[in-house]
Every structure is written in C-alpha cells, then in structure tokens.
Subunit: 456 residues, 2 copies
C-alpha cells in the first residue's frame, strides 16, 4: 500500500487511462506548470483502430502498442503508475487504486468501454469480443486453429462447421474482421492445406439493422456490402441474434428462426462503459446513459464536480446536435487535447470555451485495397479510400518506429500475401505426457511387454 | 480421432518437430520422390537463438517465428499436422498423436529439449527457464513488472529486492539474458521512473564452474566476463545453487553459504530431453544419456531400428571426438539436411557416408555492440564479433520479411535505445471490479451513505 505525496506545490492532475484521450492530455500537459500522474493497469498505449489486424495475424502486438513510460517518460513533471483505479473519493479529492491512494486537484477519467452482450454476458465464452491485446491473440488462435481442426476431422459436416465463421455486428469492427477473415481463407492460406479447400470457407456477417455500417450514408453501406460479398463474405442484415451456445448461433429474421452452425463466433455488436463508470456514478450521483457511459457537462466535467472530467469512449457528450459523440479515436484525442488546454487556462486563472468536436469524417476498411470514407463533404469508396485509410492510420500511430514497421509489414503483406504474424500462441502442455502416453486409449495393443530398461 | 491414409505409393517420411533439424529435413525433401508429413504441436518454427530478445523486449514473437505451413505449404508432397506425438509403435511403423495415428516408412524425431532443474523441478515456478515463446513473454513480464513494483513499494529493502535480478547459469543464454537486462536497467529505461534509479539495479550471473561460457576458450570467457562487468553485471563463478524459494537463491561458494534476495530469478542452467524421449526409449530399448537424450548411430538412426532417426538437441551423437555434439542450431540444421540426403539416397537404392559435423564455430552476444566468436582458427571479441553475430543470425532467419523487420528493429533499437516490444501482456482482470471496490479495505470511511441512484 503506497500513498504518493506531492513533492511540488503545483496543481496535481491525475489521469486515469492511457488511451487516446488520457494520453493526449498527458502529452500536452508535459510542458505545463502542473504535476501529472498517469495511471493505467497496462504499461502501454494500445492503438485500438488496428487491433483487428492483430486478431487476424497481419500485425504483432508490439506494432500497435507503445510503452507509456517511453511516451511520457521524458516529461519531468509526469509520473506513470501501473495500477488499477477501483474507487474514487470526490469529497477528499483522491482516487483509490488496488495498491495505493493518490490525491488530485484535477481528475481526468478515460477508462473506455468493454464488450456489451446486452444481458447475455454468458455468450462471451463462445463469442469473444475484441478490446484488448489478449482478446486479439485469443481470436487469432481461434481463427487459425479452426482451419487446423478442419484439416484434421474426417466428417464433412464437422469440416464445414470448422470452416464457418460467424461475426455478430456489422459496425466497423465487424466489417473489418469479416473482410480480413475472408481474405485469409480465400487468398492467403489457400495453398496451405491438403484435406480442405479454404476458399470454400463461409464468413457470415450478421447485423440487426437493415444495413451494415448503420451510421454511414446509405450508399457507402451499400458499397461496403458489395465489396464484402466480392471478398466472399455473406452479409445477413435484419437478423437478431437470439442465442449463442457452443458453435451455434440462433438468429431471428422477421418471423423465421434459424440456427447457424459455426465453430468460430466473434462478437462485435456492442459496447458498455468500463466498470469504473458505475463507481463514479455511485460516488458523484452523475447520470449515466443506457450503455453506462457518464453524461458530461459541456466542458467534459461531471455535474457538481467541476474538477472531475470524463473523456473518450467513457463519456457521453450530448451538447452537440443533441446526440452523443461517437466512440472513436478522433473524438477521444480532441477531448484529451481540450482537457490539457482547459487545465492550462484554469491554472493561469483564465477560462476557455466549451468543448466542440469538429467532425473529421469516418473510415472503415473492408479488404486489403478497399475502404469506405465519409468526410461529410466527400464520400469515397474503393482503392482511393483505402489509401486515405492507410495514411490516416500510419499518421496517428504514436511511435515513429511503429509507423515504419507497420508500413513495412503492410507493404510486405500486400506484395506477398504472407502473414508473418499468424502464430497460434498461448497454449502448450507437455506435463504428464509420459503418463498419458502409457495409459492411452490410442496405444497399440500389439505391444504387450513393457520394456523397463530405461537408463535416464 | 483421425487416421491419415497415404494417397501415394511413394515412401512416407514422417517428421516430428518443426525445429531446425525437422524443418531443414522437410524443406530439403520437398522435391524428393517421397511423401512428407511434418507434425508439430505449434503451428510455427521458432528461431530459438533470438528468443532471449523476445524475453527482454527487443523483438516481437512474430519476428522470430515462421508459420510452418507458410514455409513448406508450397511443397505439394508435404502435409503439415498440428498435433502432439505421444507414442510410437515401431513394430507397426506408426506414431500416435493426441488426436490421430499415422504410418511411416521413415521416421525423423526432433522434438528438442526443455529445462532441467536436476531433480529440483519445483524451482521452476520461482525461476522460469526460456524455451518457448510463452516462456519468453512470461520472463518479459517478470522483468518489466519488477521495475514497476520497485517504483511503487515504499520500503528501501523491498525496492532493492525488486531491483535485483539473479540469472542462474553462465552459458550463452544466461550471458545473453544478463547482458540484455543490464542494458535495459542501466541505459534503456533509466529516465522512465521517478522513485527509483534503475541504474542501481543489480544483475547477478551465477555460474557453478570457475568461468562463464565454459565450452569456449579461456581468454574468450575472460573477455566476456569483463564486458559483462562493464555493462553492470556482477559475475559470480564457482557458485552452486543449493535452493531456490520465492525471491531467495541459496548459493554455496566453497564452504560458505549465502542467500541472495532477488524478486526476479531466471533459470538458464541446464536442459533435458523432451518427454517423448522417454517413450522412444521404452519402445525401442535405445540407450539415453544423463540428460535423457537418445544415443544415435553414426547415421542418426536408433540401434536396431534403421528407419527411425533422432536429430537436433534430442540426439546424442558421440561418433566424433568421443563427445556429444553440442545442442546448437548449426548442428541441428546439418543433421536435418543429412537426413534428407540420406533418405533421397535410400529411395534411389544407394547410400551415403555417416554423418559428420563440420564445426562452424560458436557465438555468444553480450551487449548491443559486444560479442564473442570462436571460429576455431580465429577468436574474436568486441564490436567485430558482434557484427559477425548480427549477420549470422539475420542470415539464418527463415523468412525474408523477418530478416527485414529484425534488421530494421535492431537498427532502430540501436539508434534510439527505445524498446518497442517491452509490453507486459497476458494478465488483465476487470471482473468483479465493482464488488471489490465497494467492499474494499482501502475505501475511505468518510463516505457512509451509499447513494443508490445509479441509472444504468
């Protein structure tokens, strides 16, 4: 148990969460006359927009992660603490971590969101979602092991189940996952197996609304669907998932009920606020929305608590067009930068305007040379949109060497169709191999004599 | 349960293990008039000589791993099976896997070695060894979390324990780990923390013999020790480890007993044959050495079983200079290539000479610009040796894009002293956060009223 003492008289800004919002605030406050403490339970910033590429084996974790200490370590006014915030004491102005307590003058909370199964949290085991590096590696293992299993099983029905991939949710993540899996099955690994034809794999994208990418203009949704279909994805719209159970997805389409048999089911259908939101709400009495996100004031603060701010995906900012800002990286970055400016002004005794998000547009990638881009004044689809997507993502990667290696890796993957990162990791078992082998049902009965001449 | 049937009349070569030996045999047999089946429990080949760089955060797993299907998938005579061989039926010429059975005409076994604790297997929990990608990521987590913990704890004694790293075993792996950890602590992360001075970290390399790198010429051992000491490693020779228990290493030095307090203890002191060796010995009555390795004939076969061969680290080949060949990658590669040639000759009805290993020398790296190289006719140490080491390793990396990205990563690390891959992964917990926070001993007692106005 530790209790950090301030060694300076400068105001103390505590930032919880090193995502886009928290990190941009911390970086921008590096030269301000304040003390900054950045708390995260991980030691790295995760570039979430490319997480699906780790899940599908195009990129390695390190290529989209940057150690927090590396990014802000040079700022002498900045402390990094590896810990998890579990509670908040707004009256005494302090946050409580698993292993310590720390006081703040300004508190910025940006702990993001996790998967939302809308009351069916037990579906998670069979249909994992994609939020963390560990999720991505689990999903990668699921995808590539499915082909290995299909190769081994003898029953054609089982082969088909292993070669069926169901992705629930037609938002950007679902679209990106479906497109990437289709490219793996239909192009990248098509020569790798002997007992199966991976180009026969079925990739199903299941969406409850009447089109995929619902927040996009209709014609872009249409184009996205067409190019997914060209890649070999079956797009199923107007389908509500009613149940998920080990290799089975039940969906309702109007009056009809249908069961899909798929050994790989992925969840990309919804998000809810991270657990800390509930704690904040209890402690401050602030309102939350249906997804558990904190309703913030026009300066991102919590009502009645002018020194506590909520940023990024965790915040519901509805002071613009009467609808919440979307949970995307550009919004989070802007909110982080705003917080830094706001606090700098406060410290100087002045003030700044309420937060305003200038929409920079939205992007979704479908395949290795197809994307859709909505810049408001301009809608793009196809190769040009893909180029825009590539450069926008490279640009925002935090570290220069990540920019370089990701560019190189993409270029290489694009040229060779090889996926160097398609490793299945995280599961090995060599324990008790001996015992298992000698008491094994597979063991040939012809050998009756146990030769005990071992000379270890 | 599957039973692979041969679809061809060509002889069937079954290779167990996709390490250097197995993979080089499989690659070389790709154009031979035989059918090849490569069985491995992992879907990738691991370039073990660089594994310590994954453990110390310089490289990512994907940079030193290559998917087996990618390497041999284009060879139409080659099957890859992801499974673990657990038994052997030499009379019926078949191997038994966890999920299937397969017949062979020629069987090549190269499943390598794992850690050896010399009867103290319970030390493994406190002092993990480095053999798999998972080991490497665990060790990486241990190393980087140690600094995080040192930053957080308040007692100076505890800080010191967290900043003490004990590496047991002064062979190449121990030397490389010690050098890399010293560079991390004393150079790479020296500006990253506020409550500790990482340059004060103690890195202890413990060796039982009277010098490190015992198989090397004495003057190279001496030079290696000097340059490790320059990097800040404390080299302790003539020290026998008598016990390891959570953060404590007991060592004996002559008559003296000493206890080292270190929160990070790594094991690099010995290897033993993989579990399959014991099974092989039981089934074929072949002799094994003290480390459990299979004694092979001069053509790498098992006595009385002319169609079963053992290669790589798992084999004890003592037909040269009356001592076993060392368990290093060049030996394994040569043995793999020899097997391919041997089988090609057999199939043609001819035969080849017994196996002979032409020593190409040995290398060990100490720091980012210091290595020792023994080429027999030439001994090198220092920067030139390091350049030799760099190019030898790049040269043998299997895939071209790995060569490229590793070179780029090394160049970048060398220039910037930043370690992009120093991510701590594999452990997250968000479950029950709410419950924990509300029943928390840390919770400030000032808040007595539980505000139940949550609107989730």
């Amino acid at each position: 148990m530790y209790n950090f003492q301030q060694k300076s008289n400068q105001p103390h800004v505590v930032i919880v969460g090193g995502g886009f919002a928290g990190l941009y605030a911390a970086k921008e406050l590096g030269n301000a006359p304040v003390q900054v403490t950045l708390i995260d339970k991980r030691n790295f910033h995760l570039f979430q927009p490319l997480l699906y590429q780790v899940a599908t084996g195009s990129l390695s974790p390190a290529e989209i992660c940057s150690p927090l200490r590396l990014i802000v370590g040079k700022n002498e006014n900045t402390h990094v603490i590896l810990d998890e915030v579990i509670d908040l004491d707004p009256e005494q102005k302090r946050v409580i971590m698993r292993e310590g307590v720390i006081n703040y003058d300004y508190l910025i909370i940006g702990t993001g969101v996790s998967h939302h199964y809308f009351g069916n949290e037990h579906w998670e085991t069979d249909a994992p979602g994609l939020k963390s590096i560990e999720n991505a590696l689990d999903i990668r293992r699921k995808i590539f092991l499915a082909f290995e299993e299909a190769e081994k099983v003898s029953s054609p029905e089982e082969k088909e189940e292993w070669l069926t991939f169901a992705i629930v949710g037609g938002g950007p993540t679902g679209v990106e996952l479906a497109g990437a899996i289709a490219e793996i099955a239909h192009k990248i690994i098509k020569d790798d197996f002997r007992e199966i034809d991976t180009t026969k794999a079925k990739i199903l994208l299941i969406e409850g609304m009447n089109r995929i990418l619902p927040p996009y203009p209709e014609d872009l949704s249409q184009k996205a669907q067409e190019s997914l279909e060209e890649l070999g994805v079956t797009v199923l719209t107007n389908r509500m998932v009613t149940n998920i159970q080990k290799s089975r997805v039940n969906i309702r389409h109007g009056e009809e009920e249908e069961t899909i048999k798929a050994r790989t089911i992925l969840w990309a259908a919804g998000v809810k606020a991270s657990a800390l939101a509930e704690v904040i709400a209890k402690r401050t009495n602030v309102e939350v929305d249906r997804a558990g996100r904190i309703m913030v004031e026009s300066n991102l603060s919590i009502k009645n608590y002018p020194n506590i701010f909520v940023v990024g995906d965790l915040a519901n900012f509805s002071h613009q067009d009467n609808k919440p800002l979307p949970g995307i990286a550009p919004v989070a970055m802007e909110e982080g930068l705003y917080m830094a400016k706001y606090i700098k002004a406060k410290v100087k005794g002045s003030s700044i305007e309420p937060f305003y998000y200038k929409d920079k547009g939205s992007l979704a990638v479908i395949g290795d040379n197809y994307a859709v881009v909505n810049l408001g004044f301009l809608k793009l689809s196809g190769f040009i949109a893909w180029i825009v997507w590539v450069f926008a993502h490279i640009y925002y990667l935090i570290e220069f060497d990540n920019k370089l290696t990701v560019m190189l890796q993409w270029g290489w993957n694009y040229l060779t169709r090889g996926r160097g990162a398609r490793l299945i990791t995280g599961e090995i078992s060599e324990n008790n191999l001996i015992n298992k082998s000698f008491n094994n049902e597979h063991y040939p009965p012809t050998l009756t004599e146990e030769k005990e001449t071992l000379k270890v």
